[in-house]
């Protein structure tokens, strides 16, 4: 729990001078994500670079060092009856804010409450020239300069070392209720998209093994009225269910098989893929467990207007994120070079060519 900025800058400078590659590590709970990288990389440990720098509940803004654990943030927010509305997965107590943004991780409420990048207001970043830079800010609206803060979402640390992140936080809803409807996948997809088009306080819609779970959250009277209108069985201990889904401790994630993630058009009909699967984000995120062919999965994702990633397990020395069109690939390489001219930050972690 300290400010290690000066030390981090020195480590980056030394690496840039010697050409050593750096593996940025927070709590180490997302090591299974991205590509497997060369062992000779030097580790930059961010777990100790932690602590909430400022938190003003009335401003709905929180700033913390990148190594701050989600658990610590949650404890501070709980005291003020506020939350990180993007419901980041806490794989363990060690999961950090920096890792969450770098891997763009958001939970079941994402289509309605927004993603981690949606809540980012600013970052401080050490670039490949060991310069400590500030982008964005601590206010809700800021359009000065390019949005380098949100660019970090999904960059797997390849653009620099984030030292500090400012976020928008939100009040917790006054009431939450979860309805369960027993139905097949096709029916569930139809209902998810229908319900999402109604002006009701829906905040999550998930289907797994014949059951559709829809969460309502907001003002008590509004939640009750919507629950009555929609019908379905009330889920007991709903909070545990949604937390297990957000933290990927739901039974689906217990599989030993490789896990695949589709991010696609929510109305896409049921896939003709066998194996255990879970639909989240009202149809826009679909998880599959099994040994599938990479090219085939890419093709299915494209047809569904979206992308695939090999989320966990499988061959991690090959590509694990959806292929990028060649001009976009080149653009990303040039962008990385603009931040990290010697290519020292997490090389090859997101893509072999980045």
């Amino acid at each position: 729990m300290a400010d290690l900025t000066a030390q981090l800058i020195e480590q980056v400078r030394a690496a840039a001078d010697s050409g050593r590659k750096l593996n940025i590590l927070g709590g180490g709970t997302k090591a299974f994500m991205g590509r497997q990288v060369e062992a000779e990389q030097e580790t930059v440990n961010l777990a100790e670079h932690a602590g909430i720098v400022s938190y003003q509940p009335v401003e709905l803004v929180l700033t913390a060092r990148a190594g701050t654990t989600l658990a610590e943030l949650k404890a501070a927010l709980d005291e003020q009856n506020q939350m990180l509305a993007f419901e980041p997965p806490c794989f363990s107590e060690a999961s950090t804010l920096g890792g969450t943004l770098a891997t763009n991780q958001s939970g079941p409420g994402r289509p309605w409450w927004g993603s981690v990048r949606d809540h980012v207001l600013g970052v401080r970043l050490i670039n490949g020239k060991a310069e400590h830079l500030r982008f964005g800010g601590q206010v809700m609206k800021n359009v000065a300069g390019y949005d380098v803060s949100r660019l970090q979402a999904g960059a797997f640390g390849g653009l620099g070392l984030m030292s500090e992140i400012s976020l928008k936080v939100l009040p917790k809803p006054a009431m939450q209720r979860t309805l369960v409807i027993e139905c097949g996948q096709t029916e569930a997809l139809k209902l998810m998209n229908q319900r999402a088009a109604e002006p009701k306080p829906i905040t999550a819609a998930t289907w797994y093994q014949g059951k559709l779970f829809m969460r309502l959250a907001g003002a008590g009277s509004a939640v009750d009225a919507a629950a009555k209108a929609w019908g379905g069985q009330e889920l007991e201990d709903a909070e545990t269910f949604w937390l297990s889904l957000a933290n990927q401790q739901h039974p689906f994630f217990e599989t030993q098989s490789p896990i695949w993630r589709f991010s696609i058009n929510s109305k896409t009909p049921e896939f003709n893929i066998s194996g255990d699967h879970l639909i989240d984000w009202g149809g826009a995120q679909r998880w599959y467990a099994g040994d599938y062919d990479w090219d085939q999965m890419v093709s299915i994702a494209k047809h569904a207007g979206g992308q695939i990633s090999l989320y966990r397990g499988g061959n991690r020395t090959a590509e694990v994120l959806h292929p990028q069109a060649e001009p976009i690939q080149k653009l990303q390489q040039r962008l990385k070079a603009s931040f990290d001219p010697s290519g020292i930050f997490n090389p090859g972690r997101a893509y072999s060519w980045l």
């Binding site: 927004g114 809700m140 917790k172 009277s221 992308q307």
Partner: protein, 503 residues
């Protein structure tokens, strides 16, 4: 102010030859090179800054726009993309030796996908037109800048436009799914997808709000939202700005996120009431408009809570809209605040800083002192929910030196915003206008990083050059001299006399 001086024979010849080349594949009516027809394109919504373009083209297909860019890239000709021209930072002001690429002909809504609540539109489609087209399905497009009747979605993407409903529904960046754009080299790229996110670094976020410096938008896929069952607005008067500011904090502390939360100071209330007859309390020093939307039950619950809170915190008057007609009338005052102020002063200059809400009283007080120092009146309109302040400085451009004093005053306000932890622009963009204040918010290293980032998209730096990011040299001059130099301009043009301004 006109930025550059008279044209040389060489420039006229260049204009002629480029116009002929463009007319080979674009309807010659849409290749504009005569001074009279070029006139309307000299500025955007901020008419204080004007420049005549070498040529204006209005392509009708992506292929035509692509060829324009390829030719300009090969010839080293700057290109400024233009939407509806409603921007407020001179971001679409032409380059004197460059081409203005107007996307006005790209005005078709290509698809409204009701099932997954999205619309695919061309960049010249007006913001409001999307909501109108989606209305029969009970859907609408969230961001609603005040110019929504005229501004185009391509321009919204370029500026990351906001509006009065940002706190709850987000900015443009939160409401986009994918963007198709042309690079300066004429390459057609798509970022984002039909899903909610994409693999790898978030190019969508980077591109949104990049002020036409990274690419030219050719197609946008936006999210649509279900229209709330009901909306009601509570209007409350307070005898001090501090009390009104506290009330804003209290609403948030109660866990209510209003659809819109606006504040006006005494001067703005007076002007708006004279203009719109909205029924605002004229004795109030500050006015809050708090709109709650959602389901019928939610609105009932939250309206009661907001009314009680306003009474408890000493509001001098509290009034809640009882009909759609009344709601529209109560909003009319706020929405016409700019023209209302325009009526009581020959000219006004609109600023766009953002501050942490808690700093409001301090900032208003400091601004009052500056107002006295410069001898210029200022009215305040504030997106209180998200801390975005729009001070309107009243002045008369016909009085020698008053525009210069106004610009200096405005610059000081923006620097004050940065000082208290805010930023120089919340939603209008930097463009040409706020280059001068960029060094107050960014260090030289950050400015250098921005330029490097731009070159990753546009290696010859031909897209909207001289906007958005100041040159390093002008930043250093700003720091050493603290004077009103004009960044990114030559020494000669800084001495040009300043002409008309908007009002």
């Amino acid at each position: 102010m006109q930025i550059s001086t008279a044209r040389t024979a060489e420039q006229f010849a260049r204009r002629q030859s480029l116009a002929e080349r463009f007319a080979e594949f674009i309807d010659p009516h849409y290749v504009i090179s005569d001074e009279e027809t070029l006139k309307p394109y000299e500025c955007d919504g901020l008419s204080a800054y004007c420049e005549e373009a070498l040529i204006v083209v209005l392509p009708e297909t992506v292929e035509q726009a692509q060829r324009v860019l390829q030719i300009c890239h090969a010839e080293g000709v700057p290109v400024v993309a233009r939407g509806a021209g409603t921007g407020l930072c001179a971001g679409a002001m032409p380059h004197s030796e460059g081409v203005v690429l107007s996307m006005a002909k790209f005005n078709k809504i290509l698809e409204i996908d009701t099932q997954c609540r999205a619309a695919r539109v061309q960049p010249g489609v007006r913001n409001l037109a999307i909501s109108e087209a989606a209305a029969p399905m009970g859907l609408y497009y969230g961001p609603d800048p005040s110019s929504q009747i005229a501004c185009s979605i391509g321009g919204n993407v370029a500026e990351n436009s906001g509006g009065v409903h940002c706190l709850k529904y987000g900015l443009t960046v939160h409401n986009l799914l994918s963007v198709q754009f042309l690079t300066m080299e004429g390459e057609l790229l798509t970022i984002g997808s039909e899903g909610l996110d994409s693999c790898g670094m978030d190019l969508m976020a980077l591109f949104t709000g990049s002020e036409g410096l990274l690419g030219v938008v050719t197609e946008v896929r936006v999210k649509l939202l279900p229209r709330p069952e009901r909306a009601q607005v509570v209007v409350a008067g307070f005898d001090s700005v501090t009390k009104a500011g506290d009330a804003v904090g209290e609403i948030i502390a109660q866990g209510i996120i209003p659809g819109g939360l606006e504040m006006m100071d005494g001067f703005a209330i007076q002007a708006a009431e004279d203009f719109a007859k909205a029924g605002y309390p004229l004795d109030a020093q500050a006015l809050l408009l708090c709109e709650v939307d959602g389901t019928n039950e939610e609105v009932d619950e939250h309206i009661a809570a907001v009314e009680a809170l306003f009474h408890r915190l000493g509001a001098t008057s509290v009034r809640t809209s009882q009909s759609e007609e009344e709601r529209a009338r109560l909003w009319a005052g706020r929405k016409s605040a700019f023209p209302a102020v325009g009526r009581i002063s020959p000219d006004y200059y609109c600023m766009d800083g953002t501050i942490p809400r808690g700093q409001l009283s301090h900032v208003l007080l400091e601004m009052q002192k500056m107002s006295e120092h410069y001898g210029l009146r200022v009215a305040n309109v504030f997106h209180a929910g998200d801390g975005n302040l729009h001070p309107l400085i009243l002045f008369d451009a016909n009085i020698p030196g008053e525009l210069e004093r106004t610009e200096e005053f405005g610059g000081k306000i923006l620097e004050l915003c940065v000082e208290v932890g805010g930023c120089i622009t919340g939603e209008h963009g930097v463009g040409y206008e706020k280059l001068r204040q960029m060094p107050a918010q960014f260090s030289d290293a950050e400015i250098v990083q921005f330029h490097a980032l731009k070159r990753a998209f546009d290696r010859k730096e031909l897209l909207n050059p001289g906007k958005g990011i100041p040159t390093l040299r002008s930043c250093q001059e700003y720091r050493s001299l603290d004077m009103n130099i004009t960044p990114n301009a030559t020494v000669e043009s800084q001495q040009d006399s300043k002409g008309a301004t908007h009002g």
